[in-house]
């Protein structure tokens, strides 16, 4: 690797022009494409109107892209240095939301900071990836295989999960868990510990069932047999399947989805937006969107594998895995493969916070590519 620029010296900085040139504009274009699919579906869901969803979503996307670029331009070492602090702030916010959070839809998820409202669990999704990446970056290869060295990151994952579960927000807790698991896996944690975690999770299941809220239990029972109660609780998932199925191969045509337009689809603009797409554009449309997501994942792989630092690799694939998990759970949920847990379709579902999280996350991914050759020593995180 002789061609590599050695910028191991912390004092050497890349010029702004250099960084902008290194931006993966192709990745950004794919992000825009996915977001555009979202705008089209929001336009359709509003009955052929930019208002109330599509126009606002566009503005948010614009703001998110600016933030994304800003994040991408900041040096990796800076983020590495601040990763634990960001994690700590995230934990504090989660504790705060538990104490004074605003109640929305029966769960405390929002924190009103006066000027803006933040959803600490969203902050946590990014902070957890960064903190775990930093931890494994500094960990010796031999130690990764040792149980006591993974107790700390396990606790780092479990603690925010517990706080989010308390809100209660099963979907986000699950997201955090899967995200953590993905990074553990990529960091090289021995597979036997995964097996152990899997078994203990199975053992905890009955206990968890006992602690679950009624609506959470209901979701699971409905998942097991949605058509048993078509007018009651199974309604959403059944109507969602009807929308998908009636879309057929090529769909009913743009703005022609009767299920969505006639309000049979629940939350057609948020969690169930994929069904509206699949109803109007059929299987072809659905697969097209999945293809775009996979393209984003492929970019993640390319960037991660090209990165010179372990931190960069873990962040690069950690974030794209988060996107993948979002996408998979959402589509699996609306097509009746997994229980309805309330996970949005990334960049497509209406809602600013989740989109902002994703875009900032991709800011880190872009940053990993820009700073691919910046060498970060194992102890590089020391302040």
């Amino acid at each position: 690797m002789a061609m590599r620029r050695t910028l191991g010296d912390a004092d050497v900085e890349l010029s702004l022009g250099r960084k902008l040139l290194d931006m993966r504009w192709g990745l950004i274009l794919v992000l825009c494409c996915v977001a555009a699919v979202g705008w089209a579906m929001l336009y359709s869901a509003a009955g052929g109107n930019m208002d109330p969803w599509a126009s606002r979503q566009m503005v948010r996307f614009g703001g998110g892209v600016v933030l994304m670029l800003a994040v991408a331009l900041v040096d990796q070492r800076f983020w590495l240095r601040w990763a634990y602090l960001m994690y700590a702030v995230g934990i504090c916010l989660l504790v705060a939301v538990d104490l004074v959070g605003r109640n929305a839809m029966g769960a405390q998820r929002w924190l009103d900071l006066g000027i803006i409202q933040v959803q600490p669990s969203e902050v946590m999704k990014i902070a957890l990836v960064l903190a775990l990446a930093r931890y494994f970056h500094g960990l010796a290869d031999e130690d990764v295989r040792r149980f006591r060295w993974i107790l700390v990151p396990a606790a780092m994952t479990a603690f925010p999960m517990a706080l989010v579960l308390k809100q209660p927000d099963l979907g986000t807790a699950m997201m955090l868990g899967l995200e953590g698991a993905a990074i553990f896996f990529l960091a090289g944690v021995a597979l036997r510990w995964f097996a152990l975690a899997f078994i203990s999770a199975g053992a905890i299941m009955p206990l968890a069932w006992g602690m679950m809220h009624d609506y959470q239990r209901k979701r699971i029972t409905i998942f097991l047999d949605p058509e048993s109660d078509p007018l009651g609780s199974g309604y959403h998932i059944l109507q969602s399947k009807i929308a998908l199925g009636s879309g057929g191969m090529f769909g009913k045509g743009f703005l022609e989805g009767s299920q969505a337009h006639l309000s049979f689809l629940p939350e057609k603009q948020t969690d169930f937006i994929f069904t509206a797409l699949a109803e109007e554009f059929g299987m072809v449309g659905g697969l097209g969107l999945i293809g775009l997501y996979l393209l984003l994942v492929a970019y993640g792989y390319a960037i991660a594998l090209r990165s010179g630092s372990h931190f960069g690799r873990l962040v690069g694939l950690g974030i794209t895995s988060m996107l993948f998990i979002y996408m998979f759970i959402n589509i699996a949920m609306v097509s009746g493969l997994v229980p309805v847990v309330g996970v949005p379709l990334p960049l497509v579902s209406y809602g600013g916070t989740a989109m902002l999280t994703l875009l900032i996350g991709f800011g880190f991914v872009l940053g990993v590519y820009i700073h691919r050759d910046v060498e970060i020593p194992r102890r590089g995180g020391a302040l």
Binding site: G245, F264, G286, H310
Partner: protein, 626 residues
């Protein structure tokens, strides 16, 4: 990159590849799932999607009108503003009703009814909350309807009876569908909220014809049941118009002529049985039943001693009194018990064993034949004849003339009347017939009962030369226009009939006879008739000793019924009539003048001479309905 780093990179690459494998598997699962739902199951879910969005709604057909023979509307339809509620779509039925109650007049019983009905019916069937709203209420509801989930407003058609109470017993009324109706009739129309079916009268008899058949509309609805647009519409078949034989003008005249009296009047066309007028007085307002009669109103109708809800023409059974004497005369003549020249001396009473049977005329009539006996309504003459001919042959003749059996008119719940026979007496009371009862029967008292309709039929059969004529309110569809109705002969000799007809002519047209004062003076329109005064309360021996108490002095309920049967014109009869005035005291004084006026009016209007209105389906294809 040092060696340690390179090893780590290799490890990461391996794990990244494995992760990619997992992701690939998961994506394959998604693709398989989409393929399963969107390709393999596409037809099934496509159908479910249509089920979702397409709602079939029934369109109630317009109920057929009821028209008189001239085409005048007696029952029709008018616009009806209604408010309905779909329990499934209302957040809470009770609170929705309370909110409605703030906007329109809605009492607790109405609310309770809606809640009760909501229990009974399927949750998505709209339930009628209130109808016949006025325009202001309806407009106000429309204004607030966005805040009233589950509330439906519609403009329907409801039954109206422009003919009013005068036609109430003929046409009857429509009412809400009862649970029993639902059991007997599986027409889906009955499930419609607020649907009305015939409950009495012709509305009931011809309900099937008047109702028509349901249309339907396919509408696209959203998840809340709100109609987005109509996709297809099949108009139902409107109900057929019903053309009556009734002449509305004559009907109104008869009702007016009965005035405040409680009674019945019938006019028949003796050649085909057309009922030209059929009044049971007083009537009631049929609209009350359509809208939903209040308990107070219903009790007022029930407690009225003139019994407005009771159809006296068909259900009222009265002793025919002297109007029965024609039957007795014909029975005796036909049996050969008496000859046409038979005479009887009337001393004012007749003794049978220990009993003394009085003639209405104290001094007696002297010697009379059949014609004079009818003309002066001599009781002794008919005591004598009745004793000779006996109850069985009287009953047989009565039945031939239409008394003591159903006339077969196209109306529900007709009373049969009663003509006693020896066997009947024995079966009924376990006692043998007493000869005195023959005397009582001969003057239309005792067990004999007839409805006003039966009396009119009797008069018609006497007048038309002894042929079978049966009353009808609606002509058969198959009946050729203008052609005379085939009438079977009753097998009564013309000589006997002629004698009785002469007797009835004498009643009204021979000076001094019972109804001479009630004669029609117009030349060529003269009527023949027979008076009748039927005792309601037996005159006791004590009362007879002390002199019969004047009718006017008795309470209304104890006074005699006044009857009159008649036909006109005498020379070439066409119209027959029967009048019964409950507790009208005297057939000659009360019923006679009414019969005269009605028959005179009948001849003035002469409905039988006019071509009846052509019935049609409301669709307009010109077919006549039966």
């Amino acid at each position: 990159m040092d060696r340690r780093d390179f090893n780590r990179f290799k490890g990461f690459g391996r794990r990244a590849l494995m992760l990619a494998g997992i992701k690939g598997t998961l994506v394959s699962a998604l693709v398989a799932r989409l393929y399963y739902l969107q390709v393999l199951q596409a037809d099934r879910y496509g159908m479910l999607s249509d089920d979702n969005r397409i709602s079939m709604r029934m369109l109630p057909p317009l109920r057929g009108r009821v028209l008189d023979r001239g085409g005048e509307e007696i029952a029709n339809n008018r616009r009806n503003f209604r408010v309905l509620v779909v329990p499934e779509q209302a957040d809470s039925l009770r609170s929705t009703l309370n909110r409605l109650g703030q906007l329109i007049n809605l009492d607790d019983t109405q609310k309770a009814r809606v809640l009760r009905e909501a229990e009974r019916r399927r949750k998505f069937v709209p339930i009628l909350v209130a109808d016949n709203l006025n325009w202001e209420d309806f407009a106000r509801l429309n204004l607030y309807s966005p805040d009233l989930p589950g509330v439906q407003l519609d403009v329907g058609e409801t039954r109206a009876y422009p003919g009013g109470p005068v036609f109430s017993h003929i046409v009857g009324y429509v009412g809400a569908v009862s649970r029993d109706d639902l059991k007997q009739d599986d027409d889906p129309l009955l499930e419609l909220p607020g649907f009305r079916i015939g409950k009495s009268g012709l509305e009931k008899v011809y309900d099937g014809d008047l109702r028509g058949s349901a249309g339907d509309t396919q509408v696209e609805v959203n998840a809340y049941g709100r109609v987005i647009r109509e996709l297809a519409r099949h108009e139902g078949q409107p109900g057929a118009d019903l053309v009556l034989t009734i002449d509305a003008g004559l009907q109104r005249f008869a009702a007016e002529r009965l005035g405040e009296e409680s009674g019945a009047a019938v006019v028949l066309d003796i050649l085909n049985g057309d009922v030209l007028a059929m009044v049971s007085n007083p009537g009631f307002d049929p609209d009350l039943f359509n809208i939903g009669i209040s308990v107070a109103d219903y009790q007022a109708l029930q407690n009225n001693k003139h019994r407005p809800l009771f159809n006296k023409v068909l259900q009222g059974q009265y002793p025919p009194g002297s109007t029965f004497k024609m039957v007795v005369a014909l029975a005796a003549l036909e049996a050969g018990v008496i000859l046409p020249g038979h005479t009887v001396f009337c001393p004012g009473h007749m003794e049978l064993g220990d009993a003394k049977f009085h003639c209405w005329k104290k001094g007696g009539h002297g010697t009379l034949g059949v014609v004079q006996a009818l003309g002066q309504s001599c009781d002794v003459f008919f005591y004598d004849v009745g004793r000779r001919v006996g109850p069985d042959r009287i009953a047989e003749m009565a039945k031939r003339l239409g008394i003591g059996g159903l006339t077969g008119i196209d109306m529900p719940s007709e009373a049969a009347g009663l003509v006693p026979t020896r066997d009947w007496k024995f079966a009924r009371f376990g006692k043998r017939w007493a000869e005195g009862e023959s005397l009582v029967t001969a003057i239309g008292q005792g067990y004999v009962l007839a409805t006003p309709m039966q009396l009119a039929v009797m008069a018609a059969r006497i007048a038309n030369g002894g042929r079978v004529v049966s009353p009808r309110l609606v002509r058969k569809a198959s009946e050729p226009r203008g052609a005379p109705v085939e009438m079977r002969s009753l097998g009564i000799s013309q000589a006997s009939l002629s004698l009785v007809q002469q007797g009835m002519n004498a009643v009204t047209n021979t000076p001094g006879n019972t109804a001479y004062t009630s004669r029609i003076k117009t030349v060529g329109w003269e009527m023949a008739g027979k008076t009748g005064s039927a005792q309601v309360k037996r005159i006791s021996m004590a009362e007879r000793e002390s002199g019969v108490i004047k009718q006017e002095a008795r309470p209304w309920e104890d006074r005699d019924h006044a009857l009159f049967v008649a036909f006109a014109p005498v020379g070439n009869p066409r119209y027959a009539a029967a009048i019964v005035i409950e507790h009208g005291m005297s057939g000659a004084k009360t019923a006679g003048p009414i019969a005269r006026d009605i028959l005179e009016e009948a001849q003035r209007r002469n409905p039988a001479a006019k071509e009846p209105f052509r019935g049609r389906f409301a669709g307009g294809d010109g077919r006549e309905r039966g």
